[in-house]
């Protein structure tokens, strides 16, 4: 049946009301603002938790911008961007009607340091003065001196180094206000106090089934970002991804008003959808700052030889790797480490051109230069069960390198073992599959953890896989961090990326593309480049 009126379909006018169903694979575990590790405040979490700043809810590149949320602006830097001051909006309230104060934001940040509430991002620990050794408010009642709350609406952060991107950090849920009187430690996640448009009605089995309903005390007047059309939001998880896509494509009953925040269309489904116009119209496409790459540990032979790394870079067949993850509609070939978005300072380059499907001839030559005329045998470490670092990609790499005379042996590890191995400088494999996603759309959280020499962690989780400690690189990172002009910073991140790439410390493979199906009653689709997926705070189901 054709559309009955023009309000039908994704393009129709959004209305308030109805229930939005979210069908997910992964449970929304740890629904505690201290424990969540989100980019830009997360999708479902940001319906309940407001933060000092938040991501701009807009389509495409505009969505990569950071905008004020609880705060009146993006913050005032001082002392060379080592001190950041925020003022809260007036009239903001919790779900119980009590006012939100700056002390609550301070407390919310402090409790994220508690061992009981582990899980968040590392930036607060690294940036705040005294953050590294602070055990959280349960053990240390004094609190963090580096966060000041001179009055109920003002909050001041003292950083131990210049950080021009602090407004980005302030989007994370750790910046959600939590009143000390309501804090019940690990139990808080069951009924966290809402500052956003929805409050938690029930949270079954650690986020397996979440029901959210309107928060009466939230007001659109002081929240320009969240639309909150539906009355009720029902998050169901633990579903199989194929089933989620089947349900969304069948789109019957409550599934007509359903979306998913974590499940991509698979290749087989894409193959089917490509022949079905009405279905294809219900697919949202998004880009998230993310790169999948081959990582080297130059401390391990023969990867200490740059020529070997280059040869691999020449030999790689990006189209079969892309096929392995679902073809050109689910991945774009990557030659740069930074994602191909302006916000990251994307600067195109291709130091070791491999073309679409590899340049085995050139690879052989380089390999010969490296002293391996008759080929070489390498071991590629990957995870056994992981769509992004799993055997599918590994075997595609294996097959591509075969043509260049490189025999690849696969070493598949169980996921925990794999993670332990590649993050441990002592056990790090020489050659493995890796990926990096942005904590916010900027080069900083992309390049610093991977190439900053001071971030090589010797006795814990290390992400600087090349263990690169190049004073010039370190210096440039520090310099860019000082900039509060984010556009200027982006350009310099791009340039730094290109400079590092000459060393062939990694081989970028692809940037994933998100293709997500949504139900036939879902309207007002907004997909920003920040998250790459449709924003649940914007959709309407009526």
């Amino acid at each position: 049946a054709g559309p009955k009126d023009k309000d039908e379909g994704a393009k129709g006018t959004p209305h308030k009301g109805g229930t939005l169903t979210i069908l997910n694979t992964e449970a929304q575990t740890d629904f505690d603002p201290a424990r969540l590790y989100t980019s830009g405040g997360g999708n479902v979490p940001s319906l309940v938790f407001r933060t000092l700043t938040t991501r701009n809810r807009a389509n495409g590149a505009a969505g990569s911008k950071v905008v004020p949320d609880l705060a009146t602006d993006l913050g005032t830097p001082s002392k060379n961007a080592t001190v950041w001051t925020y003022t809260l909006k007036k009239g903001i309230k919790y779900e119980d009607g009590s006012p939100i104060t700056s002390a609550d934001i301070k407390y919310g940040i402090e409790r994220s340091f508690a061992a009981e509430l582990s899980g968040g991002a590392p930036y607060l620990r690294d940036w705040l003065v005294g953050g590294a050794g602070y055990p959280g408010p349960y053990k240390d009642k004094k609190g963090l001196d580096s966060i000041e709350t001179p009055d109920a609406r003002t909050i001041v952060f003292h950083l131990n180094k210049p950080e021009g991107e602090f407004p980005f950090l302030a989007t994370q849920t750790q910046f959600t206000p939590v009143p000390r009187s309501k804090d019940d430690g690990t139990k808080y996640e069951n009924h966290p106090l809402s500052s956003g448009p929805y409050r938690v009605i029930s949270n079954e089995n650690d986020g397996e089934h979440l029901v959210l309903e309107r928060n009466r005390y939230w007001s659109a007047a002081n929240d320009t970002q969240r639309k909150s059309y539906p009355d009720r939001i029902d998050v169901r998880s633990g579903l199989d991804s194929a089933v989620i896509n089947q349900r969304l494509s069948a789109s019957q009953g409550t599934d007509a008003a359903a979306v998913t925040t974590d499940t991509n269309l698979g290749p087989a489904e894409l193959a089917k959808i490509s022949g079905d116009k009405s279905l294809a119209a219900r697919v949202g496409t998004g880009h998230f700052g993310y790169t999948n790459y081959l990582a080297f540990n130059p401390k391990v032979k023969p990867f200490d030889n740059p020529k070997v790394r280059e040869a691999i870079a020449y030999a790689i067949d990006r189209s079969s790797v892309i096929n392995a993850v679902g073809g050109t509609s689910l991945a774009e070939p990557a030659t740069t480490f930074l994602p191909n978005q302006e916000a990251f300072g994307y600067t195109p380059y291709d130091p070791f051109p491999a073309g679409k499907s590899g340049n085995p001839k050139k690879a052989r030559e380089v390999l010969a230069e490296a002293g391996y005329k008759h080929g070489i045998t390498l071991t590629l470490t990957h995870a056994n069960q992981d769509p992004e670092a799993g055997p599918e990609i590994a075997t595609a790499v294996q097959d591509a390198l075969k043509k260049a005379g490189i025999t690849v042996k696969l070493r598949g590890l169980e996921i925990n073992q794999y993670r332990d191995a590649y993050k441990d400088v002592k056990a790090e494999p020489g050659f493995f599959l890796a990926r990096w996603g942005a904590d916010w759309p900027s080069g900083g959280p992309f390049l610093a953890p991977i190439f900053d020499g001071r971030q090589v962690v010797k006795d814990g989780a290390n992400f600087n896989h090349a263990q690169l400690d190049d004073p010039a690189v370190n210096k440039e990172i520090d310099a860019i961090n000082k900039l509060t002009d984010l556009n200027a910073a982006a350009k310099r991140w791009g340039a730094l990326d290109k400079r590092i790439s000459a060393q062939a410390l990694d081989v970028p493979l692809f940037h994933p593309v998100y293709k997500r199906l949504y139900g036939k009653d879902v309207k007002n689709i907004v997909i920003s480049n920040w998250t790459g997926v449709l924003d649940v705070s914007q959709v309407a189901v009526k």
């Binding site: 575990t29 740890d30 590790y37 409790r111 508690a114 061992a115 009981e116 509430l117 582990s118 899980g119 968040g120 991002a121 590392p122 620990r125 590294a132 050794g133 055990p135 959280g136 349960y138 804090d183 019940d184 430690g185 690990t186 139990k187 079954e204 089995n205 650690d206 397996e208 089934h209 169901r236 998880s237 633990g238 579903l239 199989d240 194929a242 089933v243 089947q246 349900r247 494509s249 069948a250 019957q252 009953g253 599934d255 169980e414 996921i415 925990n416 073992q417 993670r419 332990d420 993050k423 953890p449 962690v457 006795d459 814990g460 989780a461 992400f463």
Partner: protein, 350 residues
């Protein structure tokens, strides 16, 4: 000896109604069940102790600093020697334990199986939340595959050796030869997606809405049943053929009973014992073994929770759930033995 012995001594008048001595039997079985379960916890502790993976790091999060990881390890007592941790676990079962939520002390009453590393929920609570799901799945599918399996087994025995039997066998075996995630997904695509006869399964508690409960579980039940039925068909068929060779079957043939009642009443009855034993085993293992079905149909049951707990090295949950599934296996076998004695009065519970 805590098992069953079928006495085959003829010419004997035995005035031993099958269920005599049930009390003593249950007591003996209880003791051995406790020992079995204890052994299971030791094995699981030992195995998951050796499994690679830095539990503290996994629990803390990818980008936790070494200092934080140490804090978490201390918090979870991961630095204690393994026997100490096991001892605490045992004590918790008997006497309960206390845990800090950060702001207060939470008491976990006996039998306390500890707290999940991952979600800080009490494992006992977690299990109580998931048990009804798995229980519904196991029970419902048991009924269907017993009916389906025993039915086809009977039919196969009746048509034995003929083309129709081969076809029937082939059909049921097709179920066995297909992994559950294939059958389940295909059924879902066709029945829920294309024909729209049933809703996509979504667990509705029995206490909430019995009708919806059944409708939503129908597909998972059927998928499991299609897979299990073949086994029962085979076992039933074999047992029936075995019984058909016995003298009392000849008696009823010689008294003009039709092949149908000979098979359906007399031969089938003899086949009950192996079917009961098999069903008990399957029913029990369904509690820990329906991983794939639960995953596919998004039923938040024990199996699914177990696998994800294994993936995040959440030892208390793993041990707790294995213990509970083990308990059900043991229980199911016990029930089977009693049923067996009820079904066949000659059996003496020892």
């Amino acid at each position: 000896m805590s098992t069953l012995t079928l006495r085959r001594r003829p010419l004997v008048l035995r005035r031993l109604p099958g269920l005599q001595g049930l009390g003593g039997f249950l007591l003996r079985r209880m003791v051995s069940a406790v020992a079995t379960l204890l052994a299971i916890t030791v094995i699981v502790y030992a195995v998951f102790y050796i499994v690679p993976g830095n539990v503290a790091q996994i629990t803390c999060g990818e980008r936790c600093s070494p200092a934080q990881v140490h804090q978490v390890a201390a918090q979870l007592h991961l630095d204690d020697p393994v026997y100490q941790r096991y001892w605490d676990f045992l004590r918790g079962i008997v006497a309960g334990r206390s845990f800090s939520t950060g702001t207060s002390i939470e008491h976990c009453a006996a039998p306390c199986l500890g707290l999940s590393y991952r979600s800080d929920q009490q494992v006992t609570e977690l299990i109580t939340a998931k048990l009804p799901v798995t229980g519904s799945l196991a029970l419902g599918s048991l009924v269907i595959y017993l009916l389906l399996g025993v039915g086809t087994g009977l039919l196969a025995a009746w048509r034995r050796g003929r083309v129709s039997e081969r076809l029937l066998t082939g059909l049921t075996l097709a179920g066995t030869a297909t992994p559950v995630f294939v059958i389940g997904l295909l059924l879902m695509i066709v029945v829920c997606g294309q024909l729209q006869w049933l809703p996509f399964p979504q667990y509705v508690p029995l206490t909430e809405d019995p009708e919806q409960w059944a409708w939503n579980l129908l597909l998972p039940w059927t998928s499991l049943a299609l897979i299990e039925a073949a086994k029962y068909a085979r076992v039933t068929r074999a047992a029936i053929l075995e019984t058909l060779a016995e003298d009392h079957v000849r008696t009823f043939r010689a008294y003009g009973l039709s092949e149908r009642s000979v098979l359906g009443r007399h031969a089938l009855r003899g086949a009950l014992a192996p079917v009961i034993a098999l069903a008990a085993n399957d029913f029990g293992s369904m509690f820990g073994g329906a991983v794939l079905t639960e995953t596919l149909f998004g039923l938040p049951g024990i199996g699914q929770a177990l696998v994800s707990a294994v993936n995040v090295a959440d030892l208390p949950v793993v041990v707790g759930m294995v213990l509970v599934t083990g308990f059900f296996v043991v229980l199911a076998n016990l029930v089977a033995d009693v049923l067996y004695a009820v079904a066949d009065r000659r059996v003496v519970l020892v």
